[in-house]
């Protein structure tokens, strides 16, 4: 009996192996047969259709070809509908088999890639300054915007340097160090904060005091304990006539919530000044200036109008937006800008605006080291060597000799901020390894990757500590750090940088729907759109929900302005709150004004742009660009002809085979969203004809409207989750993806299916080979 189990085991094992091998051979043969049957009829040496030749015996090589095949098969865009297509089961099995081969090859021969030396981009620089020194600085006035590649501006390939850029980083180092140390020679300067011209100021604005309407709030870091002048200016029309001054209004200026003045604008006397509009308006603006002492540091300056009961009945306002044209003078006055000038007459011993508030007894170098060493460690994101300290101490001593310890720290800080160790995210290449070797990043470098991924900034002390001690290399420590970082307020930067670029929310800034067609659209709505989508993304992140909720969440975040745009009753006030979505069509981002507006033209919707946006960002399958010499604009309605719907005009795409090959992928998706107009409002008609929101997707699915489209996307959740994971990996690595990165994406999907929780996907990225490792260059 003893023998039975022992002797039989090899036999059972043998049978098992035999079966497994046989099964593997079966699926291999089936997949190859399917490819031969459905693909190589066109993609063979002779026909070379689309320049593509497929040899099923070569799978998985070359990976770039077979990854492309996988994508087309997954999307069901190949074979074309005019040719025989496999059934769903064969589709699934063939894709699975090719993927398995690709994944096995990648596992046997992993390639984590070699991201280039990465300069801190503008956003990362600003965040690093805030985290290092506790200073909020307006970095847009110091550094130029960064190029982007593969959809993100943190891509190392475009984060190079040029003399101009270096000059700007050096100037920034000078400015920031002067600010941090409250340089007493700081010259007065001015900052102007302007409201956008299409900001409606006849309602309460989010964040401003209750009982007020319009106005604006700015945050500024004041450099010294000194006097500052604050000036308000008010909106004038094209003829320099100040707006809204027939009647008196109360203007309140406050700093950090405390009232500084309450003054009157408007009334008969001001109105009389408009006989000479420029001088009269200048004279009114001149009344709203005040000079006052303020402490160094961050202050919140608010200027707004007190609400007046019953006001507004005299004006017939046809639109939500309060200033439809630039000649308008009726209604309420609008604040145009807040200007802050200073510092004047700085105090003898000023406090410092940031966190760098310490005192060192005159002339004690050890104290300087105690201050500078941790500062440099955080700025350089690694342990500090004697060699690092030498120049810092030298600059400190030099400055101290000129103007005392603060001057010394200013010089040393300037040196830190100009350092290549601060400006570049360097990852060292181990000497002892042969070219082409793979190696795991050291935990200190990994800490930087994590913090720039999730915080767009430098690591904090704790992260650096677990990295320096080597613990970050342990899986459970990595996981707990990722969770901690996602729970930290700094993760908001991930929301605005990642989601803002992935979903193109940043483009809202440039959205200027025509006031002729969309007279209600104003800056309040533009800001609201962005806020809604960011809040939804943030809630999914913070509650660790499924990424699929981005499409299907039964809640969203609204204020009165947005609810009015969506036709949702019962929501009052400017503050955003979580609201249950009861209209099925509004669920998820496909029903949100942000996405619907950035994918529209100024005068109308664009089903093509919307379709392309969905394919590119939600399905990970960007369509190729239109061929050259093809007219990509639509003919207008012929003169005198009955108006045609956009859909009828887009039918042209079907008439031409070249156009149809891509537009049949894009247009139906866009049509499904056509019940939303170019600013996200619901509509049932276009040019007097009812909207037809039906269409056939590439895989043959018939959809009707946004709900049908959403269900179709959700019925293949791995495609949407895959698109999200790809984008996330590009963002995390700061490089474009190669075909041999796709096995990584699929591995993360397998680990996180079927829930696809966002934190699990982020964790999958953080644990992945390309995030954890590098390849030593071959040359």
């Amino acid at each position: 009996m003893v023998c039975f189990a022992r002797c039989l085991r090899p036999i059972i094992f043998g049978i098992f192996i035999f079966t497994a091998v046989a099964q593997a051979q079966d699926s291999r043969d089936a997949a190859r047969a399917a490819i031969t049957r459905y693909c190589t009829g066109c993609h063979n040496e002779r026909a070379r259709t689309g320049g593509l030749v497929l040899n099923p015996a070569s799978i998985p090589s070359p990976p770039e070809t077979w990854e492309k095949v996988v994508q087309r098969l997954r999307m069901r865009t190949m074979p074309p509908s005019s040719a025989p297509r496999p059934n769903e089961k064969t589709y699934g099995q063939t894709v699975a088999w090719i993927e398995n081969q690709l994944d096995a090859a990648a596992e046997a021969n992993p390639n984590p890639g070699q991201p280039l030396l990465h300069r801190l981009n503008r956003a990362e620089y600003a965040n690093a300054i805030e985290d290092l020194l506790g200073l909020k600085v307006d970095v847009t006035a110091m550094l130029p915007p960064d190029d982007s590649a593969f959809g993100f501006d943190n891509n190392a390939s475009v984060l190079g340097l040029s003399p101009i850029l270096l000059e700007r980083y050096l100037t920034a180092a000078d400015r920031v160090s002067a600010l941090a140390l409250a340089d007493p020679t700081t010259e007065p300067s001015s900052e102007t904060y302007s409201a956008r011209q299409d900001l409606s100021q006849d309602q309460h604005i989010e964040g401003l005091p209750f009982g007020t309407v319009g106005g604006m709030q700015v945050e500024q870091t004041f450099p010294l304990d000194a006097e500052y002048e604050i000036r308000l200016s008010f909106f004038r029309n094209n003829l320099e006539i100040m707006r809204g001054i027939e009647r008196p209004h109360q203007v309140e200026l406050s700093i950090d919530g405390e009232r500084i003045f309450l003054r009157t604008i408007g009334g008969p006397e001001d109105l009389a000044r408009m006989k000479n509009p420029t001088d009269g308006s200048d004279a009114i603006d001149a009344r709203f200036r005040i000079r006052l002492p303020l402490k160094a540091g961050l202050h919140e300056v608010t200027a707004t109008f007190l609400q007046k009961r019953g006001f507004g009945t005299a004006r017939l306002q046809g639109f939500v937006r309060s200033s439809v044209d630039t000649f308008e003078v009726t209604g309420r006055p609008h604040l145009e800008a807040i200007t802050i000038l200073g510092p004047y007459k700085p105090a003898q011993h000023s406090g410092k605006p940031g966190r760098l508030n310490f005192t060192c007894p005159q002339g004690i170098s050890s104290c300087a080291r105690e201050v500078l060493e941790p500062l440099a460690r955080r700025a350089y994101r690694r342990p500090i060597t004697a060699e690092d300290m030498r120049p810092l101490v030298a600059f400190y001593e030099r400055g101290r000799a000129q103007g005392g310890p603060d001057r010394g720290f200013q010089m040393a800080l300037r040196r830190i901020l100009a350092s290549p160790s601060f400006l570049f995210r360097a990852e060292t290449s181990p000497e002892h390894l042969p070219p082409g070797a793979l190696y795991v990043l050291n935990p200190v470098e990994l800490a930087s990757r994590l913090s720039f991924f999730l915080w767009s900034s430098i690591p904090d002390d704790r992260l650096l500590k677990v990295a320096t001690s080597g613990q970050l290399a342990r899986r459970e420590v990595l996981e707990s750090e990722v969770r901690r970082m996602l729970a930290d307020p700094r993760a908001q930067r991930f929301v605005s940088n990642f989601a803002g670029q992935w979903l193109q929310l940043r483009n809202l800034r440039n959205a200027r729907p025509n006031s002729g067609e969309f007279p209600d659209f104003d800056d309040n709505l533009r800001q609201g759109f962005r806020e809604e989508t960011e809040l939804l993304f943030a809630s999914i992140l913070h509650e660790d929900r499924s990424i699929l909720d981005l499409l299907s969440a039964d809640y969203t975040f609204l204020n009165e302005r947005l609810a009015r745009q969506y036709g949702i009753p019962g929501i009052y006030g400017s503050n955003f709150r979580r609201v249950a979505v009861t209209q099925d069509a509004r669920k998820g981002i496909l029903g949100q004004g942000s996405i619907l507006t950035v994918t529209s033209h100024a005068d109308r919707t664009s089903p093509v742009v919307r379709g392309k946006w969905v394919l590119e960002n939600l399905l990970g399958a960007p369509p190729p660009p239109p061929p050259p010499e093809v007219l990509t604009s639509l003919p207008d309605n012929a003169e005198g002809a009955p108006p045609q719907t956009l859909r009828a005009r887009l039918e042209l795409h079907r008439a031409n085979a070249i156009c149809a090959s891509c537009h049949k992928l894009m247009d139906p998706i866009g049509f499904a969203l056509d019940n939303f107009d170019a600013v996200g409002a619901w509509r049932t008609e276009d040019s007097g004809a009812p909207i037809t929101a039906t269409g056939q997707l590439a895989d043959g699915t018939e959809v009707n409207g946004v709900i049908g489209l959403r269900n179709a996307i959700l019925s293949r959740p791995e495609i949407f989750a895959g698109a999200f994971t790809e984008k996330l990996l590009i963002y995390a690595l700061g490089r474009g993806l190669e075909p041999n990165d796709m096995p990584t994406v699929r591995a993360i999907l397998r680990q996180t299916a079927p829930d696809y929780r966002i934190a699990s996907i982020i964790m999958g990225v953080a644990r992945s080979v390309p995030f954890q490792m590098r390849k030593k260059p071959e040359d």
Partner: protein, 434 residues
């Protein structure tokens, strides 16, 4: 001496005026020496995007005294100092449309299709000339633009790096140069921080020592990196040296110039004010002789800007694909005209700014043009192009080349005019001498 003071009765300036303290970047360090030397030659390139309605742009007759086309009408007052060059073409095909149009204008090169770091265009003519004539300048060249491209995600030509559209200027085939859009930043770069000359000298010495120190550190860091990263850090070391040279040039400046401009506050919301400010900064930069070469991208390729101020509500790029619809073409031509109007205001200022024995315009050569012919088809030719200024040679001419002459041929002629010897540029196959 640079004196920034109240100049123009326009709101942007007026508002900024008393708000700022803009002192000279060099106070009197020596007597004015400029009277002795002949006035320097200035070079400028002004770019507009999305091609043009060609039949309204290009003159119908050629040679001297040509028939002035409607789109160029705002420049008519300067026709004696103006030459239209016809039948020029950019390199390559229409594949890559807006990206290759911007990247090809000053390079003569058909930009490589890539989204990754291996971007490849060519050194631009402005940079090649600046390298020769600008070495003594505080800024060998200036690169300016108006559009903040960070709000244009996904708005680049598919397959082509956004870089190709975000800049017109390349220091080398692989080094695009960023263009500055913020007038205030330009002002501060040009005229520096305020303070007495002693303070400024001390600051410059400090700048030098910081640069020396970081270049040591960078050299050390370099040894720990892989080859590609090492190359990137080498560029950084070169950049450090170039900035050191600039500091030296600034310190060496002992002459003085008086310019009139207020410190701008930032980026105005109005396009027209923004463009006017950028042009004014170019004028004073020429006038103060801190640079002799400026490239200005007035608007970006594929720009979707609308122009309600001239009653054009459709986005520029959309209109440029007019499909030969007369209404759309009329609107597109209106935008073309509007851009020329803005440029003409700059020309007028150059014409009224005294410089040596004449005006700044007399001593300048400013090109105004595009890297695309008819925007509807992303055409490679004929490119709209006009040269303005005393250095354009005999004025009032329409110089017609044979069809599809590379625009690079013209740039070679320009280089020669500035005493810079370049034998070819991109796809050049000859030299056009104005």
């Amino acid at each position: 001496m640079f004196i920034a003071r109240k100049a123009l009765p326009r709101r942007t300036f007026l508002r900024g005026l008393s708000a700022t303290v803009a002192l000279p970047f060099l106070d009197a360090m020596g007597p004015a020496l400029k009277a002795a030397a002949p006035p320097p030659k200035r070079l400028g390139f002004v770019y507009f995007p999305n091609g043009a309605i060609i039949n309204k742009w290009i003159p119908k007759t050629d040679g001297a005294g040509f028939e002035f086309p409607p789109t160029l009408e705002p420049l008519a007052p300067y026709r004696e100092k103006l030459v239209v060059v016809g039948n020029l073409a950019r390199a390559g095909t229409t594949i890559g449309d807006h990206a290759v149009a911007a990247a090809g204008w000053l390079t003569g090169v058909y930009a490589k299709k890539t989204e990754a770091e291996n971007v490849l265009a060519g050194p631009t003519i402005d940079q090649l000339i600046a390298r020769q004539i600008g070495q003594e300048m505080v800024f060998p060249s200036l690169e300016l633009a108006t559009e903040d491209f960070t709000g244009y995600i996904g708005g680049c030509t598919p397959g082509f790096s956004c870089t190709y559209m975000n800049t017109l200027c390349w220091a080398s085939p692989t080094t695009p140069l960023p263009m500055e859009i913020n007038p205030r930043v330009v002002f501060e770069r040009l005229f520096g921080r305020t303070g007495s000359s002693a303070q400024r000298q001390a600051r410059q010495a400090e700048d030098r020592s910081i640069l020396d120190s970081i270049s040591e550190e960078a050299a050390h860091l370099r040894s720990a990196l892989g080859p590609r990263d090492r190359a990137r850090l080498s560029d950084y070391l070169d950049d450090i040296r170039e900035i050191e040279q600039r500091i030296d040039h600034r310190q060496a400046r002992t002459d003085s110039a008086e310019v009139t401009i207020d410190a701008p506050e930032g980026i105005p919301e109005s396009f027209e004010e923004h463009v006017a400010l950028m042009f004014d900064l170019q004028r004073v930069a020429y006038q103060a002789d801190v640079t002799r070469v400026v490239t200005f991208m007035m608007s970006r390729e594929a720009s979707q800007r609308t122009y309600p101020q001239i009653e054009v509500d459709e986005p520029h790029h959309t209109l440029s694909h007019h499909g030969n619809d007369p209404q759309k073409m009329a609107k597109n031509a209106r935008i073309n005209l509007y851009h020329v109007e803005q440029f003409a205001k700059f020309v007028e200022k150059l014409n009224t700014t005294a410089d040596g024995d004449g005006s700044l315009l007399d001593h300048s050569l400013i090109f105004y043009g595009a890297g695309m012919g008819d925007g509807n088809a992303h055409a490679t030719d004929p490119l709209p192009l006009v040269a303005v200024g005393g250095l354009a040679g005999t004025g009032n001419r329409h110089v017609l080349q044979k069809p599809k002459t590379p625009v690079a041929n013209l740039w070679l002629g320009v280089a020669a005019k500035f005493g810079v010897n370049i034998d070819h540029l991109g796809n050049s196959d000859g030299v056009i001498s104005l």
